[in-house]
Symmetry: C3
Amino acid sequence: MSGRPGDARRNKNVMDRRSAIVITAPELIVAATLTVETRGQGFVEITRDVEDFVAAAGAGDGILLLFIRHTSASLVIQENADPDVCTDLGAALNRLAPAGAGWVHDSEGADDMPAHVKTMLTGVSLHIPVRQGALALGNWQGVYVAEHRGRPHRRDVVMQYVGGRHCGA
Amino acid sequence: MSGRPGDARRNKNVMDRRSAIVITAPELIVAATLTVETRGQGFVEITRDVEDFVAAAGAGDGILLLFIRHTSASLVIQENADPDVCTDLGAALNRLAPAGAGWVHDSEGADDMPAHVKTMLTGVSLHIPVRQGALALGNWQGVYVAEHRGRPHRRDVVMQYVGGRHCGA
Amino acid sequence: MSGRPGDARRNKNVMDRRSAIVITAPELIVAATLTVETRGQGFVEITRDVEDFVAAAGAGDGILLLFIRHTSASLVIQENADPDVCTDLGAALNRLAPAGAGWVHDSEGADDMPAHVKTMLTGVSLHIPVRQGALALGNWQGVYVAEHRGRPHRRDVVMQYVGGRHCGA
């Protein structure tokens, strides 16, 4: 086989579809932990909390990283315009990891093993680009803690910023 | 319980299975946005575009981070040798998030809510190590934008490099 | 619509639920590759190997990034207290991506295409915060290589640390 399989599908004129390059010096790593009280199964939006952290960190251009320190709650970036989307996302996860599916691990309650599966499928770490001190989220993207247990829990999310300082900061 | 559960499974001779350590100074954060035109549901390979960005950034040793600014398209690293793999990956996602499953959120079309679920399951952010200016992908790994809507869309992917400069750059 | 949808759900008193900010200078990027021998389908814990790398790297405050260079094995952070959890996680993945589901791509064995789907759903890259030289994992979190092929394989995991030096290092 000559060349990588991707070659044939490559857009030859890549410069036309790539924006100008922005270069920054990595000056800071800033960290804090956000504690989120959930109300049982469902999605808790934390976009504004993350934005507040990025502002408090004096961030300029860089990367915001999030990590949730749990095995039955996860981090999800999804639409925050219509609350029905989160309802359906929860229903989808319930179908993919139903309670009462004959799980071996059932000593912590019928909702525990499904919560582990949902966490595995949706993930505990993600990052968001930061541009001129603002999260570079898409128009419809919000950041959520997804609680997969039935009862309310206190969940810790570690927020870290790596990048340059905000101009004037 | 004494010790972490992982202890028993630990390979005692870890030095034998870990490569030498490479140390670099973080000198650069470089960012650009790639705009990808999709043709409706399916996988669009962007490996070469990402490689071009890493080269243009003057990257040496470091980390390449990708983020897609959408809620109905995602980023996937998968086999790029046999195109049938992507066909099957799409079929698998269709089974996990079928259209017509009684979604509450249906105002944007029958393909919209399944697209949100597929995006949640596959993710909007990932990173790839960079070694001596090249992506440290495995032999069979390619980077894809997975379009989950039925019609063509324009999708923005933010590419960021954090790391050292290429020797001679 | 005035304001972002998240506004209404914002905790007004965010300072009360965010820990103090810790600031570090990014001084190091340290990289090494861990080679993991799997025994066929199942989860191999690598938490201690990652901890050993972070110690050897002289890490202080920063970020540990992991990347697996394969398309049929993935990285998962999940409970490491009760081994039954991993058994159930494997069973859940088998239900989501069954062998014999009429996959087009079957030239590499009946377990190959299900392994690609499971890898797509669980992911090949993640990060973990590092605080004062230690992984900031939750109490029950362990780091695993999830092998999705039936037979034993040798899997490469690239470990990278970005951050400050350990005090005294």
